[in-house]
Amino acid sequence: MTGPAPLQPPPPPEPAPIVLDRASRWYGNVVACNDISFQVGPGVTGLLGPNGAGKSTVLSMIAGLLPPSAGRVTLLGEPAWRHPAVFRKVGLVPERESVPGWMTGRGFVGYAARLQGLPDAAAARDAAIALVDLAPAADRRVATYSKGMRQRILLAAALVHDPPVILLDEPFNGLDPRQRLHMMSLLRSLAAEGRTILFSSHILEEVERLAGRVLVIYAGRLAAAGNFREIRRLMTDHPHTFTIRSSDDRRLTAALFAEGAILGAELDGELLEVRTGDLAGFCRQLPRLAWESAVTLFEVRPTDESLESVFSYLVQR
């Protein structure tokens, strides 16, 4: 990796449960995953990227469902490809809710428990079902479950053997807000027990609210790794845009210009839009200058922190 040093996250304590070392994966001429290296340690890590970026390919390689075309992928110190024994310590929640509809929720989780060869499969099964709050519906056929319930039963099956590593592919897809909140608090509490959780998502807010650390994948490449906001702030070589509503936009603009805090400003009706090249400086100067000029700040909003803008900056660097 020749990337700038600040983007490299501090290496997690060895041995990291998940390690990708220059891993690539291609299908014919299509390169889904291009020379990716990273390590994932305990806690919640988000795998962020737009549709088709290669997130599923990365997760599939980690889970041993696909061999890397080049490079090395290890899970708990061993390559998972053609090595099913590693699944004693890993739980996977796949994206497609491909639960066999003829089984009951309890049957499905119980089957997972027995395939894990657990000494007390029934107890593990019921504990996992209770953990995801599905006990009342456990004896219904999965075909009658809602989307959120299916995601939860998949999670229960992935958790039944109490694995230290959990992989989730788009766990929030199709969940409504309430189901989303429930899933988030569940993942938080699992991480609090010291597990390694890696989940993929294309929705920024989810990752922001849940993950301490993100891996940003774009067009098959690892575009960034680390704390999302830190990454964003490190990219100081392009202007950041803020919209501001204040009691006196003109006076505030003048003060900001005078101090050199902004590169440009546009006043559109009630809304002031300013651009700055020095994010950290601007954030400190803005409240101070407003205070000095006796301007009330009603609204301050960064406008280009969308995932897409971050992605495009990251790949243009």
Binding site: L66, R82, S98, P100, W102, R114, L115
Partner: protein, 244 residues
Amino acid sequence: MILTIAGNTLGALLSRRRALLMAVLAAVPALVALLARAYGEPGDVVQQTAGLLEASVLTALLPLVALVFGTAALGAELEDGSAIHLLTKPVPRWRVVAGKALAAAPLTGLLVGGATLVTGLILGGDRGAAGLTLAYTLAAAVGGVVYVLLFIALSVLTGRALIVGLIYVAVWEGTLAGLFEGTRVLSIRQYLLGLIAAIDPHWVAGTGAPLAPGVAAAGAVLVAAGSFLVAVQALERHQVSAGD
């Protein structure tokens, strides 16, 4: 572990409408036997029974039922993606294949063997064809294992296993075996007929000389074992396509 997989697979195979359809299909030879018994003309009962069992059970019912259950046992899961749950468990692949076969083969054997027994006994059980019926029932059970393993292997190798299997049964074992006798060495149906003929050559009604017992037995074992190994190998190499 194998039993766990087999039990689950049995549940999946029996949970669909196709299990019922297979049972209906299995009842056809017995109905024919009933009709023949009621309205039939006197003749060589042993020959008649052998003709009926060979034509209806060995040529049609056994491969069809084995084809449907064999391709559904693992292939259906691989196709709709639910196999991912099984493949992300600490289970060696040979156990997966064994578990799948342990569900589909006995189910096929039970259904087809039962149909054979009932059909043969109806037509000639009290008229000297009981031994022949037992031989065919045994052949159906053996055939169930061999066919099911072959079709499980096919279903791991290709998504169109059902069509490929149909072509194998109808064209290779059916049409071509009549035209080119040499293809019999690679025909499960001929292995089974060879095994039956080893007990009593009169029990095989079809044209052409049956395979020597040794060849038939070796062929059946080789196909079964080879299919199993191919299925395990293919499953180990099976890549779950990424959704993104």
